[in-house]
C-alpha cells in the first residue's frame, strides 16, 4: 500500500538519499536499520511526505503524494517523530488530544474523548492523565506522543504508521508493549508500519521485513530473519564477526 520508487533526496547539493525503492504491504511491519548518518530519519521524513523529493515518487494506495492534500494525508498516515519537548504547561490529556479532530475549532467531541481515554489505557498512561506533560520522564513523554499519534488514525483502516526510533526512551516492558500494539493494529485494522530502529535483535523479533541503509543507499533488504544476519551486520557496521550478537 506504500510504494516508493527510486526516491532521492538532496539538501544544498549534498545527497542524503539516492535511488531508494521500497514497498510496505497491508498488515506489514518494515524496519529501517543502519549506522548513524545512513539516512534513516531522512528516509522516514520522505515517506511521511514532509520532505520534498529530489527525484522519484511515493504512492499511498496508488495515489502519488503530490495529489494528496495535507489534511487527506493526515487522515491516512501518522508519524511518531523523535523526542518533542514542549515549553508550556499542557496536561497529558491535552497533548494526547492534539491528535484528534483538527478540522473543528471548537474542540473535542464525545467520541474523541472516548478514543483518547481508551488509548491512554492502552499505553498505560491513564493514571498520569492530569499530570503536566513537562513533569514526565522521557519514556513517559514518548508514550504520550504515541497516544497522540495513534489517536490521529485510530478510526481508520489500512492506515500508515511511521515511527522514528520509537523505543529510544522506553524500558524493555514498554518496548514490547509498543510492538504488541503495532502487531495488533496490523492484524485487526490492516495498518502498515515503518519503523526506524537501532536495536537489531528487537528489529529481528518484531518486524516482517528489513531494509539496511548505508550512506543513503539500500545495502540489503528482505525478510527480517534472513536479512539481519551476522555477515551482513558485521560488514555494514564494520565489526568483527565475534562482536555481533543477534
Amino acid at each position: 500500500m506504500l510504494v516508493a520508487n527510486n526516491i532521492s533526496f538532496k539538501v544544498s547539493g549534498k545527497t542524503i538519499l539516492s535511488d531508494v525503492s521500497l514497498s510496505v504491504g497491508r498488515g506489514e511491519i518494515l524496519s529501517i536499520l543502519g549506522p548513524n548518518g545512513a539516512g534513516k530519519s531522512t528516509l522516514l521524513k520522505c515517506l511521511s511526505g514532509f520532505y520534498t523529493l529530489s527525484a522519484g515518487t511515493i504512492f499511498l494506495e496508488n495515489k502519488p503524494y503530490s495529489e494528496l492534500s495535507l489534511s487527506e494525508l493526515s487522515q491516512r498516515r501518522a508519524v511518531l517523530s523523535q523526542q518533542v519537548s514542549i515549553d508550556f504547561p499542557f496536561t497529558v490529556f491535552e497533548v494526547a488530544s492534539m491528535g484528534r479532530n483538527l478540522g473543528r475549532s471548537d474542540g473535542l467531541g464525545y467520541l474523541d474523548k472516548n478514543i483518547i481515554n481508551e488509548l491512554l489505557d492502552l499505553t498505560a498512561m491513564t493514571s498520569m492523565k492530569d499530570r503536566l506533560f513537562s513533569s514526565l520522564s522521557g519514556g513517559e513523554q514518548q508514550r504520550v506522543h504515541l497516544t497522540r499519534v495513534l489517536a490521529q488514525i485510530w478510526d481508520q483502516e489500512d492506515a500508515l504508521l511511521l515511527l522514528d526510533e520509537p523505543t529510544s526512551a522506553l524500558d524493555l516492558k514498554h518496548q514490547f508493549m509498543l510492538f504488541e500494539i503495532c502487531r495488533t493494529l496490523c492484524e485487526t485494522k490492516g495498518f502498515s508500519i515503518v519503523t526506524v530502529l537501532h536495536d537489531l535483535r528487537l528489529a529481528k523479533a518484531v518486524s516482517d521485513r528489513t531494509i539496511f541503509l548505508q550512506k543513503g543507499r539500500i545495502y540489503a533488504s528482505g525478510d527480517s530473519a534472513a536479512t539481519i544476519t551476522a555477515p551482513i551486520v558485521s560488514s555494514l557496521y564494520e565489526l568483527k564477526p565475534e562482536q555481533v550478537f543477534l
Partner: protein, 343 residues
Amino acid sequence: MSIFSLVRRDSPISTTHRAFLLICPLVFVIFLFSLSIGAISIPAKALVFGGLDQLQQSVLFNIRLPRAILAMSVGASLGISGAAMQGLFRNPLADPGLIGISSGAALAVAISIVLIGPATGFLGLYGMGFAAFIGGTITSLVILRLSKISGLFSVTHMLLAGIAINALTFAGTGVLTYLSDDQQLRAFTFWTMGSLGGALWSQVFVSASITVPAIWILVLKARQLNILLLGEENATYLGIDTVRLKRTIILTTALTVGAAVAISGLIGFVGLVVPHLIRLLFGANHQLLIPLSALLGAGLLLLADTFARTIVSPAELPVGVLTSLIGGPFFLWLLIKQTSGKL
C-alpha cells in the same frame, strides 16, 4: 466550595468555568473602580444604580468611559498579541515589545508623522494604524527569520535580534526627533513612553474595530496554535498548513500591535506578563489562553492606567513607564526561572 477552589489547579470545577468565574468579576471590579476614581469622585454605587448629577455624567461619558474602554481595548490587544507571539515562537519570553515588533511599529508611525504630520480624525487614526501594521509585520518577519538563522529556533537569537531591532528603531526615532519640529517632538515623546491620556471615542472605536476581530481570528486558530507547539514538523503531520498558519498569526498580531501602538504608543510587558499569569493559573491551552489573555490584559492595563492618572494627580504618569516598572523585574524573574529549568 470556597473562593480558593477557583485558584487551585486540582479544583473540581472545570478549568473553563473556574477561569471565567475568576477573571470576569475581577475585570468588572477594576472597571467600576477606574470609573469612580479621579479628580471628581463618582461613587461606584451611583454608577450601578444611577443617581449621577450633571457634572458627574459629563465627566463619566466624555472623559472616564472612553479612557477606560480604550485602556481595556489596548490591554486586550497587547494580551492576545503576547499570547499569540509566544505560541508562534514556542517560547514564553516572546513579547511584542521585547522582541522589537512594537518599536518597529512605532518607528513606522514616527516616519509617517514626519512625512505626513500628526494624524487627526478617523482616517488619520486608521492611517497611522496601517503604518504601524506595516512596521510591525516587517519586524515580525525579520525576527522570525533571524531567530532561526542557525537552522533551528534559538531563544538567544530571538532576544538578541530583538535588542538589535530595538536599538535600530531607537536610533531611527532619534534621528527623526532631531529633524522634527516642536509639535512633532511632543508626539514622539508621547509614543516612546506610552500613554492613554486624552482618550477620545474615535480612538476607542478604531482600537476596538481591530481588537475584537483579532480576538475572534486567534480564538478560531487556538487549536492549531496548540499543535504548533509540537513543532512545525509534527504540526504538518497532523494536517496543518504551518506556513499559512504562521502568516495568519503574524498578520493578526502585527495588526493588533499596530493598532495599540498607533493609539497609545509603546506600552511594554503587558503582553509578557498577562499570558504567563493565565498559564500559571489555568494551563496553556490556547482555546482558554487567548480569550483570558484578552480579558486579563484589559483588566491589568485599566488598573495600571487608573494608577497612572491618579497617583501623581493633578499631573499624570505615562502608563508605559508604570507597566515597565512592574514588568521589568517580572521579566528578569521569568528569565532566571526558565534558565534554571523550572518553566
